[in-house]
Symmetry: C2
Subunit: 225 residues, 2 copies
DNA sequence: ACAGGTAAACTACACCGTGCAGTGCAACAG
DNA sequence: CTGTTGCACTGCACGGTGTAGTTTACCTGT
């Protein structure tokens, strides 16, 4: 429901939707994402979001009926943008394989240490986990679908292709994707309390490298170590 | 809830601290754990906790200076009791090995599906993750130490022993413990949104079994598949 | 052993201050 | 005319306190 609908087609002759209009909405959701990520739904105040967005509180209620609707919008939008980013990363590192372990490691590293712009998002994910009991199930469902599951499917698909090319020895691509995520990424996530704590880059490197290595022990071609 | 530390026998020349009254404190922390787990720190109201505990709000402020101090107490107490439970589970399934894969699977299953009484705790953990940025670092540190890290150390130690007995092929026991936790338990956790969502028992069984099987492909003796 | 005393612990309830979601409205800008 | 702003304002929920009165657990005196 909160997807990127917005027909916004006001009037025939009246001319295009005012340019500043949609941008306001975006600056609101951006600010909201930051504040929600930092403070959580309950602690975050609409006034704080308005301030962060450089917008009057009234304008927020002009675009969103509710604090909760705002939250939901932020959720899905954020999941979408991260899924896009994830697809890029996947494509950048895994489209052309030169050295499998090297490329997988680079991919895992990029995945495990997202750019600052997406740090908000992962804090937001922690909020979702905590709030799950207070969120409508369909919202959670929508988030999972556009976010993590989409990312998973892409990885799974690509691993399948690599297997077809003989670079990997995989029969259950979904399982392999899960294992890659667990070994290379979740290990980092858990160590850093899911992004809540800082982790020295060297340690991230080490964990990802070990994770990828382990992954290849499981799925490397020829069952080699 | 933790060990049996309250004999309740009013045997000798009584005690300085009144007996029946001191247990109010425990009913408060128990109720607080439930409410904090369900609603999170911010959303949870002291009045709600008082009601849940069957105690007047004033009594709570009689035992704890602060809502935050109450939260901290709940945190550490809960982590401790779960660590105890975890030690029991580990001991029950891994003290005597008859069939390694079978025993490991039973252990992972027990770990991944804690009894109802501890459901609160894991909800609480999700709250910690979300609140991490608003929690004093020493509190987080204390929680990690008495909780997850303690559990980890035990598992790591036991895996080392099993390796010594030739049942496993492990050189880095910490890494092996992490891998076991990731493959057998985290996979379940993530699928169920860390306990926020229900997961059919059959799926839990399947995931754990697969995880243990994979673990043994990595660490099984003789490097067998 | 039992009546009564004592103080600590507890309760009920009113109360303060504050912060916050959400609204109404008049003035203003493209 | 549509969207925005600033601001005042309502209503409410909550953290925390003060207090006066009641219960409880223990300690006596007889």
């Amino acid at each position: 429901m909160p997807a990127a609908q917005e027909p916004t087609d006001r009037g025939p002759a009246a001319g295009r939707p005012r340019r500043g209009l949609a941008e306001k909405r975006q600056s609101i959701t951006r600010a909201a994402r930051t504040v929600f990520a930092r403070d959580g739904f309950t602690r975050a105040s609409v006034d704080a979001i308005a301030a962060e967005a450089g917008v009057s509180k009234r304008t927020i209620y002009n675009h969103f009926t509710d604090k909760e609707e705002l939250f939901r919008s932020v959720l899905i939008e954020s999941a979408g943008s991260v899924a896009t980013w994830h697809r890029e990363v996947l494509s950048r590192h895994l489209d052309k394989i030169t050295d499998l372990e090297r490329d997988l490691t680079a991919f895992g590293l990029a995945w495990a240490s997202p750019p600052r712009e997406f740090a908000d998002h992962f804090a937001l994910v922690r909020q979702i986990h905590a709030e799950a009991g207070h969120l409508p199930p369909d919202v959670i469902e929508a988030w999972q679908e556009t976010g993590p599951r989409a990312a998973f499917r892409q990885l799974s698909h690509r691993l399948g292709e690599l297997a077809d090319e003989g670079l990997l020895d995989v029969d259950d691509t979904d399982l392999a994707a899960r294992h890659f995520a667990l070994l290379a990424v979740s290990d980092v996530s858990q160590g850093s309390l899911f992004g809540a704590l800082e982790m020295p880059e060297s340690e991230v490197n080490s964990i990802v490298a070990t994770g990828v290595h382990t992954f290849l022990r499981l799925y490397g071609p020829g069952g080699t170590a």
